[in-house]
Symmetry: D2
Subunit: 397 residues, 4 copies
């Protein structure tokens, strides 16, 4: 564990809504639980509204505030910029921060377009030359069960991967009276279920099987095309007393696509906000020639694994409770069977990033990984807009 003697790593964070709260919890906790080579310091929180950001900083544990992210980037006591704002702002902030020599942790999706993601990736590669690192926040890679799933596939325990099926099912906008929040506005959010939760399962799938999608066919749908207008500044929850005026939903409610991985596996993806009763059901199943596994985020401490090489008399999907000291990230936590929660994925993300910075290694997922996800999402949108026809994931567009 960290004893306070390690050099400090000043963190400046932009945004303090849902993701900001989650990242704050991670920064507050990581050095208390893990033995880190650098001591993260919660130096400054940045938001446009001075009053609000000051209150948020006090609540979340940040030592100071900024109201202009450009000021944040200029501060000498900030070594790492953590970007938790909506997607349309990622590119500008990240590129500026990298150019200013700050390491960057950027929430997913990396950007709202492939072009922005390309610019960011170029900036990241450029900065890398001078030792400045960057990482995109696909936090679910750091659920211990997911990390273990990746490890088992990488070790060949599943043999040749034949099938990947991933779904991310939520139901928070099933009600047609749920208001038109910013996540339903294409200008701010880039896309709907596709970019918000579809991005997660694309990264998850590619990470778990260590392969990349090279083509897709897709359909998308907006089931409820108009919704009550509301203050679009809020995130996941609607405001009280909405006005009767309605606006047009400009993003997808659901996106379904089939894909092929470079090494031949077939894949199926579904991201939707209309799956009544499914709250945060991010699931993945992988079938290989020698075994299978599946995972469900609503039970994030469990990995289900089938060893196809066992005698059929006792073969079966086994529920691995991923809480043993031998499991990824677990030696720092509680005894076996004492489960972790959603927020721990962020603690693990910051742990790994701090190690990379201290050791000069490349953190993953990189901006290039984030760009590749963006290219898959773009291919999905192109296919959906073009009669579902098979669409390559461009490698060099």
């Amino acid at each position: 564990m960290t004893d306070g003697v390690e050099p400090a790593l000043g963190v400046g964070m932009v945004g303090y809504s849902f993701m900001g709260a989650a990242h704050s919890q991670a920064w507050r906790t990581v050095g208390r639980v893990f033995d880190l080579p650098l001591t993260p310091v919660m130096t400054a929180l940045c938001g446009r509204n001075g009053t609000e950001v000051t209150a948020a900083a006090a609540r979340l544990g940040w030592a100071s505030v900024e109201t202009d992210w450009k000021e944040l980037i200029r501060r000498d006591d900030v070594n790492l910029v953590d970007i938790c704002t909506p997607g349309h702002t990622h590119c500008e902030i990240a590129v500026a921060a990298l150019e200013a020599g700050k390491h960057v942790l950027c929430e997913k999706p990396l950007a709202n377009s492939v072009n922005e993601a390309m610019v960011m990736t170029a900036a990241a590669e450029s900065a890398r030359a001078s030792g400045v690192l960057s990482m995109v926040g696909f936090n679910y890679r750091r659920a211990p069960a997911v990390t273990l799933a990746h490890k088992l596939v990488a070790e060949g325990r599943l043999g040749i991967v034949r099938h990947v099926r991933a779904t991310y099912l939520q139901d928070w906008i099933v009600d047609p009276e749920f208001p038109l929040v910013w996540r339903l506005d294409k200008a701010l959010a880039g896309s709907g279920a596709l970019g918000d939760i579809g991005a997660h399962i694309v990264d998850l799938a590619q990470y778990v099987v260590s392969d990349r999608l090279n083509g897709v066919c897709a359909v998308t749908e907006t089931f409820v095309k108009e919704r009550p207008l509301s203050d679009v500044s809020s995130g996941l929850s609607g405001s009280v007393g909405t006005v009767p005026a309605r606006g047009t939903v400009t993003v997808d409610d659901a996106a379904l696509f089939l894909g092929r991985f470079a090494e031949g596996a077939l894949a199926s993806f579904e991201a939707t906000r209309f799956a009544t009763g499914r709250k945060n059901a991010m699931r993945i199943e992988v079938n290989g020639s020698e075994g299978s596994l599946w995972f469900d985020l609503e039970a994030l401490n469990e990995l289900w694994y089938y060893d196809g090489t066992e005698n059929t008399e006792t073969a079966g999907f086994r529920r691995i409770l991923v809480t043993e000291p031998t499991h990824p990230y677990l030696e720092a936590w509680w005894p076996p069977g004492h489960i972790l929660g959603y927020e721990h994925t962020f603690v693990h993300e910051t742990r790994d990033l701090v190690h990379s910075i201290a050791e000069g290694t490349d953190p993953a997922p990189s901006f290039a990984d984030g760009l590749q996800v963006q290219r898959v999402l773009a291919a999905v949108e192109r296919s959906a807009g073009d009669g579902s026809q098979w669409t390559s994931v461009e490698e060099h567009a």
Copy 2:
């Protein structure tokens, strides 16, 4: 229950392999458990090999044998012909039987092509005019939990249906040394996973939501392209001592497709024989604006239902153990909690068919329903062969 005074219904069955054994169990049992308006009599079993069919008839409980299905059809004591042979023979037998005035129960898929299915449907409609009935054997409609699912959707308990996702996952040919049985030969089986198990989930989905698919985009794959030759007369199991010669697999190992229902729901389907560890995992989930449900054939006595109109404090997917006397088909069976098995779906199928015949009502699924499934499968094959582009399910081709 049947007391033996009811008029007899002479049954003649063609084929006595896997499906033949399952249908025999149904015919032996149905009148012992349910109170039927006609008494099924297991009159004759038909197969090409006289020795084998005689042994099979003794074992399975049939009173006599025929070695030519045309003879079977001619018999006055046969009122119903039950067709349990491979798909490429269905059309000829069914049409002849209908023309001879025999009721027909035909195993799924209805045929190996849309054209054959159209011929059969026309014959069925023709025969209907003279009171001769026909039914296609999508037996899973008669799992009590599936029947209940259909009922709940039909009653509006789920509101507007938004999503259907159905998979049928098996793993019996994961081993590349599994031989080239008839189910892997396009000439006999028509298609692979698509027609065998994909047909089941298409019918299941359409039945549960009482709607029809009107378009699809698809991919199919044959992962193992050559396999050891073997006696292709057997069904699901490979023969011992296979010769080293190899032949080409001419059907799909897996088929994935996305679809849209006429009333707007999106759907996802996957049928594969390469899902290691999944033995008979036919699953369906339906999400509607007011509720959801899901079912898994490996736990066929359970239906999971989410009532979206409940208070969120106590809302949750509930496991309905579909074994209450108030549940479909259950009043004739055991007390609550005493579960039924796979073969009971066939008992229920024959029960319903006998009632239809006695009462002169139209049994479901009809040949027209079977044809519609065939059209969906054909659209899947066309889309998969044409860059996955969106393909309409033809209504009048």
Copy 3:
């Protein structure tokens, strides 16, 4: 499979209610599915009411009827007497049948008292000398998952057994207006939940771990002490239009007890008819020094097994879907993943009994096994009536 050439085994059954229907289904099916050395013939059904037994015989498939079990026993064409009547009649019928040289299959519990069970066991041992066999109907031993559980323990896969916990939870008399059926009358049923379902879990536990309980401490309770009178001839279901008169419930609603096995394992048992929402929840978990397993009758095709010798990285309880051809009884049934139901346990019971009779081996569970269960139940009642103090299971009383 049976080809009809094997010698016949004439079966005469007494009783045709719930158990009679289940046994009939077994006798009708067993020779159609399994390859048997003798051909069971459903010779005669016996019941006191001639009209009713005639109707039942027609419905259930019995060739003739008797209205006096003594006549049944005298028939030369009856080789095996299958006793499906309430417990207070078992002793007289079984002893008479054995003395008449008939093999006996007697439903559980073996008797309503230890004394009766001792008489029956003595008769069985006596008859054994002249090749007459007997078996008590603890059918759950023949759920394939239970048979597999027994096998795994017997092979030492669990190491030293430390804990057994078994519950049998039902809820069919939670409603205080449920009438006073015969199962709630001590004179007919012997005891309540204890003898009816507690007997099952005692036999199950002893069978799975191949050991015997040698002491218990216990509590029992009758929650609803008076109930509406009704025709007590019916079994599990109450009659319509009950009269207002009430009678006293003379059996236990629930029985809980702790026990020790001869080889040192601790055990916990609970049998109740007051577990709202639990329909037929017979469950057992066994923990040993090297592994564990558990089973739930409501999911009777599954066995959950934990191999404690595995690497902790991938250790976990695995769900074995006990439907492989290599699993007990399964080679005669359907392909993997096609599940069996409650009634199949009786088919397997008759299969094994027929083999024992043909081969002259001792069927299990024997009457001595049934007697031992009875002794455990008696010890439970003594302990419950005597301040829960530790009470030995008598071996020679």
Copy 4:
């Protein structure tokens, strides 16, 4: 959320092993997530070894250290003493702290004996008169699903409670070579599985059903009677390189008991460290005349509830994912479906305690509640030592 303007509440904690780390995480987090009327300040950490406690304070976030708990109690900046030491030290520290006018949070079990617990309870009641509060740390009451379970029962949703069955199964000392740590030494730990995890399920059961056990019968067992000696200062994990000498295990490995609640429900309890494969399986099921519920700590975000008043057609145990804003404690956390972990139970415990202190209300569970649990444990030990005979839980001993 807390804005820092609220008055401070100085916390001094004794002990920094497993429980100390968990409580530290709670104190660091509670004011960042919940809106508190007092601001907890992590004033001082106390431990006997100055070097170790200094390192622990730095790691865990405490502002200063003490090496004598008596000094800690004297400090003016400490308002609350949080006792995380082994059970044999609780009484002395707690009584002294209360007498010094400090609020006390004491880890469970309250003490190692009824006598100590009585002394503590008297001290707590005495201190209460001058506004000094005390609480015992049965943290699992604060798992949101458990709080919800309590609420449903209290609202009468289950009707008359008939059955409670609770187990706490672990497997960390199955290996006979696991060393003789302090938790296996009666002088330090008081008892084994009984006091450590049995205490949890007694409190849990009494809390969930709002009733008290008034009698028990019990058996206990020490399966492995000698173990390698080791440094007994460590907690749950054995030390490396144990010496070959062995010592006697003086506590129980497993404790099983049956009980009756004051209002008539029957209960079954089992606490063991020998349940191979069970890591932290604290489970409870409650059956009432109108409904049932169950909970498993290994899936701590789920509550399963059966509403017995529903139509049987759709009745079933429902999995409530207890992550809605309307659920206990959840409005301060993440969106629905984003699960919490083990440590959150401590955050909620400190939240409620801070509110009680600020508002002058009595926190629960009180020392009197802890004493009552101790009396149950004592009755269990007496019964186990006296032939399992029924033993009253003394109310005034």
